[in-house]
Symmetry: C2
Subunit: 398 residues, 2 copies
């Protein structure tokens, strides 16, 4: 055995369940043609980036062909950071400046930089199941321990009582993700007040701050007029982890930010810890030309009406076939109750109809499947007969 | 005190010595005009990116306006990885495929992903002083301990005997950096044979592999026909950490790669450990559009004749004034023996002439200053009278 780090080797050898399904899809696409495979496995935006992205890129290459590629400071270009702060202030009434904003290489970098900034060895970080599986990887690499608190079975929302019981003296931070991957649930104002109440009581009880890390790459992806509450309005000790991957459909380019809330205690020191963590992980600066498109693209999104239409088609048809699911308010995921006791068995059977789904145990929650509906609408139409046939096989009662 | 990670806070609050000098330069530029400040502090490429960079970017935005921004797999786009392998094979006679190449967000990411892949808590990593100061940050964050081995005082090359004495049972890896920052020294074939000999003897003695990490962002920046030997030709257990920041003058865009040598024992597992480490640090993929310019830009460089001219001007003039320095073969740094016992005092005195230099203690080596000559040639001409006056103040004997 070569003398590498076993834990890193394990992470590298065991690709995520989602990736495995995607690879199976690639095999089937090669075998029977892409149009015959109904792959709902990956959260890869299916609509193109808004015009502002490529237009601004071309403009920058014309106007600043050299300086646009230069280093920025670690936290990012000052004007870019100021534009993000200004946008947040205008939209949510916060009072941030460029000093609160750290530009990152996307959501994962936002999370790892934040977690490594706040975690000391042995600290616990609470997440709500179902949760994005990489949370475990990021928390454990930062020296922390993941504590999962299950959401309610009925509506997949956070159970405040169960949450309160799970906070211990070792709890350093709590991650929330709204709109949620994999459920699409948006955390309500009422729920945020409950979460904040728990955190305030427990911080007082244990005599130290518990940070709230708000992972919100899907913030703008909401449908039917739903509003995503601004988390710092409910709890001051909040760090927002944002990414433009989904809202601007540029997941490969790695651009996002961390907003260290101005209401956080000694937020400048907290910000410095984020700087130190990002530096030690090897993030020198976020890609400079993608930083510089941000001021032109803030508040804009890809054409998310496509996702809304997909959601409505799927929710309508699947409900008609007898499946149990809540209509998700946001993101581009749908969390379907598995008609089979084993979600894995249901996913296997769905493959007969070339339908690829992710079983929910990947998200720390049994008995469901995730359907990523950021896909071509035509694919949904072609997949529906398969979903109907599956419902009949399982004799689901309507 | 807020409950953040103290070590990360320390790293965030204490910016590097180099950055501090650069900030002082910004202040002076604002006060007396940029043309009157002779700032040799930063290794920021002063010549523009070669045409292939922006041309390929525009072409990609025209041809694949949407798919160019999509996720690639963690290790990168397969065609891009294959092109890097092919380039290395053609240039150096290696036998790599895409499976040996991991595309990264630049040199720092290459290093942190590699170090986190191989280090287990308490392992030692040997570096040669003077060394790039971030090595310490990266090694310690990965759970390792930095062991510095001083280069020879006379020619700043590696002292193989001193190196051999410093290898212990805990030595997991050795970092070399050629052409070197801060000295410009290129490690010769003879020296690589010596290093390899030490590593082979010590690996056998301790019964485990010692990895050689070759940090080579300056590989193409060599002058006067000097060749940089290909490290895996001398030692199989080699991991190359590369960046396009310097060769293509796009340091802000964060694009580089790791090449896990095909001669390394169980290199596929070593590669997997790199994948796992990068994933856990928050690197999802290298910026996709910058990955995709790589095949068009491999083997090309910015106009490095500017750096060579700068080097020749500076070496000629400073030698004439009586300063002691070796003519560097590569990179864009010159390591000058301080005429003052205290390099810091010399740097302070140089500020009188608006000359900004970095004292060598930042690099773990006393008594020198680093001159980054990736600057506008006119600035060198304007700075020379100051260097001459300083030599006179110190009564340097010619």
């Amino acid at each position: 055995m070569i003398p590498v780090n076993e834990k890193m080797l394990g992470l590298g050898e065991k690709s995520s369940a989602i990736r495995e399904i995607f690879e199976y899809g690639n095999k089937r696409r090669a075998e029977i043609g892409a149009e015959n495979v109904f792959d709902f496995s990956l959260g890869n935006p299916s609509v193109p980036a808004p015009m502002c992205v490529n237009e601004t890129l071309v403009k920058l290459l014309e106007k600043e062909p050299d300086s646009v590629h230069a280093y920025t400071s670690g936290p990012g270009d000052r004007n870019v950071r100021a534009s993000v702060a200004e946008y947040l202030n205008k939209t949510f009434g916060s009072e941030m400046t460029y000093e609160n904003i750290y530009m990152t290489c996307g959501a994962a970098a936002s999370l790892t930089s934040t977690l490594n900034a706040v975690i000391n060895g042995g600290d616990e970080v609470i997440v709500f199941a179902p949760f994005f599986p990489e949370y475990r990887v990021f928390i454990e690499k930062a020296g922390g321990e993941l504590v999962a608190v299950k959401c309610r079975e009925d509506d997949l929302t956070i159970d405040a009582r169960r949450f309160e019981e799970s906070v211990t003296e070792k709890t350093k931070a709590v991650i929330i993700n709204s709109p949620n991957n994999p459920t699409g649930v948006v955390i309500s104002e009422k729920q945020l007040r409950d979460i904040s109440g728990v955190l305030k009581r427990k911080s007082a009880e244990y005599g130290h701050i518990i940070y709230l890390i708000s992972d919100e790459p899907y913030r703008e992806l909401v449908y039917g007029g739903v509003k995503v509450p601004f988390v710092p309005d409910f709890y001051g000790e909040t760090i927002i982890c944002y990414s433009f991957s989904k809202s601007l459909s540029l997941p490969g380019e790695r651009i996002g930010y961390i907003a260290v809330c101005e209401k956080a205690t000694e937020w400048k020191r907290l910000f410095s810890a984020v700087c130190g963590a990002a530096r030690s992980l090897g993030f020198v600066c976020a890609p400079s030309i993608f930083q510089k498109i941000v001021p032109e693209c803030l508040g804009k999104t890809s054409d998310i009406s496509v996702y809304e239409k997909n959601r409505n088609t799927l929710v309508g048809a699947l409900t008609e076939y007898g499946y149990k699911l809540a209509s998700p308010d946001g993101a581009f995921y749908l969390f379907l109750k598995s008609p089979d006791i084993s979600a894995a068995a249901f996913c296997e059977r769905a493959k007969k109809y070339e339908i690829l789904l992710v079983p929910s145990d990947s998200f720390g929650f049994d008995g469901y499947v995730r359907i990523a509906y950021c896909v071509n609408p035509g694919m949904i139409d072609r997949a529906l007969p398969g979903f109907r046939a599956l419902a009949e096989e399982y004799k689901i009662k309507k």
